[in-house]
Amino acid sequence: NIIIIVIKRFAVIAKSQSITPESCEVRVYNEEVELEDRDPQQDYMLYKDTCADLAKLMAEIQELKSSGAKSVEIEERHRQCSVHFITLKKLNRLAHMRLKKGRDQTHEAKQRVDVLHLQLQNLLYEVMHLQKEISKCLEFKSQHEEIELVSEEEFFQEAPAEISRPHVTRDDNHQLTLARLDWELEQRKRLAEQYKMSLARKEKIQKAIEQKREYLSSLQPGLQNIMQASLPVQEYLSMPFEQMQKQAEVARHLPPPLYVLLVQAAAYGQACDKTLSVNISGDVDEAKALSRRPEDSQEDESDSDAEEEQQNTKRRRATVGVQLEDKRKAMLRRHPLSLCVDLKCKDGSVLHLFFYYLMNLNILTVKTKVSTATDLSGAVSAGELLNSESLLNCLYASDHGKETPNPANRYQFDKVGITTFADYVSDLGHPYVWVQKLGGLQFSSDGAQNVIFALSASHMEKTMKLLRGRLQARLALHKQFSSLEHSIIPVSSECQHLFPAKVVSGLTRWTMMSYQEFTHVLKAGLVCETDLFFMAVVERGTARLLAAVVLNPRYPEVMPLFSLSLHWKGERSGRTEDNLRAMESEVNVFRAELQGPRPGLQLLTNQIQRLCVCLDVYLETESQVCDGSEGPREFPREKMCLRTARGPSRLKPFKYNHPQGFFSHR
């Protein structure tokens, strides 16, 4: 078995080996040379035969051994086996040698291939490198391409022959380009020369202008002197050119609404009303400064707002209030220029109106002042009449001037925490609606604001008339009040026919009242806070009649209302007794009779006189008891009445008939 294994191992080896040939003629035995002559296939067959013989011999040996044969035969066979072994060994060697040879040949070939491969790589690399270089060269942009050159046709036309060299350049692009560059250089040099020359000329001209300017400004003082000298001449001829020019000059800096107002008021004054005059007052320089940078100031505001907000978060509470106050002040800023309109009346009193423009709120406000020719005697109750705060209240119905008429201002106020504009009105002036209209400002509900000339013109006449009427009514009232306070009812001669000759009841007191005291007396609806309230006391004997009077600011367009209460043998009032109510009606309702001659400024005093007459009638017709015990009457009947009672409510006759002089019922 062991032998079989050895043989099989040899077989494997032999299969894979090539055998080296034997060597050349020299005594050296070179098996390798022998190898080249032998055929591997033959060797393989030989090996197979040898193996088969060996196997056969082994089998025979074994047979012999088992059958107990002689050792000579066995030894023969052993010798034959050994020979076969030697053959096998040779074959093995040959196989090894063939293998080695093969390997060497392969190795050599491989080496050759490697060398070539390396060369190939080198060449490829060089190729790539060269290609890169080429592309770089191709991409190269020379600066000369950035220079704008004139087109070729122009070039050939304009350039002189030495530069253009057409015989060369027409064929050769390179030369053409060079030539064009040369031409470009030439041209540029020439133009640079021209530029320098022009600069020099400009300098010279500039100097000349400066000189002339200086000359002109030196003339200015001379002109001023001439103007000054001409002033007396202007006055003499009453053509105040300079004044008007100055005003026009300043007027250029007025904000648009004030400008509209100025133009319209001046026009109205010239055309219809010689007693109206308009002036501009205020700081012109500040106005100029404002008009110079209107956009800047707006941007500044928004920027500073943003900055302030950032700073606010870092600072503590106390300074926030101060900043808010500053913001408020900035929002309520007035334009530095203002208009002053003076309305002169026949009696010498003047109504001064000062108009201001609030820039950020875009509204106009007005402040008033009254100056009179004579010093007004101090009537205590008349304190409110000419008060500049309330003088122009309700010039048009329900125009109180306490809130801003511009709806957009509401949002602005919210930003700076102003709740009511009324707090600032005494400082800044009243923003009446008629003032806005005179300045051509119209605020529609959707916020569109335009400065409209036509609006101002259409309102000017009516407003001026109302203003004048208001002043005169107030002045008349002032005079009447000082008389009333002395218990004299001033009745003019034109109104004497309204009253009987003898009036016994007399006014004993005339004082002012406050709104709170009045509210219980008359139902609301006819009375509001802006009205003026007074108390009149009329007395006769033991009877006292208290009359609470409410005077609407629009007197005499609106009638004063009287509310009566009588203190005589108990207390009765117009609320409880029909006759007192009839007296109230007699005084409150009949405007046409009581207003007297135009403009109706006697209304209040006539009403008070009529009240006295009615009290006379009331007291004289009041019978104390029914027939039977009748004591002496306190008030003997003096007034002539046809009947003392009439109708279901037994009213007294309060209507006076002129000239017959008797009293009847309405």
């Binding site: 139902k523 609806g525 006819l526 009638m559 209302l561 609320r575 409880t576 007794e577 029909d578 109510r581 109230e584 009606s585 409150n588 309702v589 019978s623 008891v625 029914c626 027939d627 039977g628 046809l642 009947r643 009672a645 009439r646 109708g647 279901p648 409510s649 037994r650 009847s664 019922h665 309405r666």
Partner: protein, 323 residues
């Protein structure tokens, strides 16, 4: 009519239309306003339905008396009586059917007419007013057929007793006179102020309201409101109401009266004041009950205000109509 005029308006007279759906009211400016009760009482009534459907100036002076016949509204102004067809008024036409004047003796001042009543027996109109006399006019012919003289001062109120055909009149002179309508002769004269239980000398003696119900008579004014039994000619109960009463009516078993003071007084025959219902005007001149129409059974009162209070339940004011 401005707010001041409205403030000084007084309503003096009222009358319901024959169908009971409209109310006419007269004021001191001589205007008559017609209100639609059905509109004002309907569930979807608004502020506009409390305004008159028609308002016009009927007379120069105040309209102290209004009276409705079956077809016409009679109104009394300064010494004249006008008739308006209800059908025309509802259609908003303000043309008077006729205007007649009783003949007056005085010429200086035209006397007012304070009260008008109808005598259904002979279809005549009885008016009394400022000239101290009662005039009787025949409705068909329009002729003033008789004058009843007797009062010494102007006549406030008139009343008619159907069964006996008697006219009762109360006047400023404090007397209640009873006249026979057939013969036009005075029958009785009661001077109420002479009776101690009724008299109120601090006020005066005039009689401004009269009402009768079979044998009973209500009268009041300067003297207290009192209930009289006519057969015995004596006061049975005196009502302790503070002001002077201007109109009183019998209604079922109650007596309702209005006058000075902003309330309607409900009284019982025994002499107790059951309730005083507050109203808008500070004193009242007229009270009217709409008994012709069961749907619109309301009581309306008017006085020294431009508003007329409407009571659907007689115990409280429901809403007000306004001129």
């Amino acid at each position: 009519m401005g707010p001041v005029e409205l403030l000084h308006m007084s309503v003096f007279s009222q009358s319901f239309s024959p169908c009971g759906r409209f109310l006419a009211a007269g004021n001191n400016y001589g205007e008559i306003a017609v209100f639609s009760l059905s509109a004002a009482l309907s569930p979807d009534a608004s502020e506009a339905s409390q305004k008159p459907i028609l308002n016009f100036t009927a007379h120069d002076g105040p309209v102290f008396s209004l009276l409705s016949t079956d077809t016409h509204l009679l109104s009394a102004g300064n010494g004249e009586i006008s008739a308006w067809s209800w059908a025309e008024l509802i259609k908003k036409s303000t043309k008077a059917a006729w205007t007649r004047k009783p003949s007056y003796e005085t010429s200086l001042e035209i006397p007012e007419i304070n009260a008008m009543i109808i005598n259904p027996k002979d279809n005549s109109l009885i008016v009394g007013g400022g000239d101290n006399n009662i005039h009787i006019m025949d409705m068909e012919t329009g002729i003033f057929k008789s004058v009843l003289k007797g009062h010494t001062d102007y006549i406030h109120c008139l009343c008619f007793k159907e069964r006996e055909e008697e006219i009762l009149s109360g006047g400023e002179d404090g007397a209640v006179r009873i006249w026979d309508a057939r013969t036009n002769r005075p029958v009785h004269c009661i001077e109420v102020f002479k009776y101690e239980e009724c008299a109120r000398p601090q006020f005066g003696k005039w009689i401004s309201c009269l009402a009768t119900d079979s044998d009973w008579m209500l009268c009041g004014g300067g003297p207290s409101l009192s209930l009289w039994h006519l057969r015995s000619m004596s006061p049975t109960s005196v009502f302790p109401l503070p002001g002077c009463q201007r109109e009183a009516v019998f209604y079922q078993d109650l007596i309702m009266s209005v006058g000075e003071g902003p309330h309607v007084s409900h009284c019982l025959h025994g002499g107790t004041v059951k309730a005083q219902i507050p109203c808008t005007p500070s004193s009242l001149n007229t009270l009217a009950l709409n008994l012709k129409n069961s749907e619109h059974r309301v009581m309306t009162v008017g006085g020294s205000s431009h508003q007329i209070d409407v009571f659907t339940n007689f115990s409280y004011r429901a809403f007000s109509l306004s001129f």
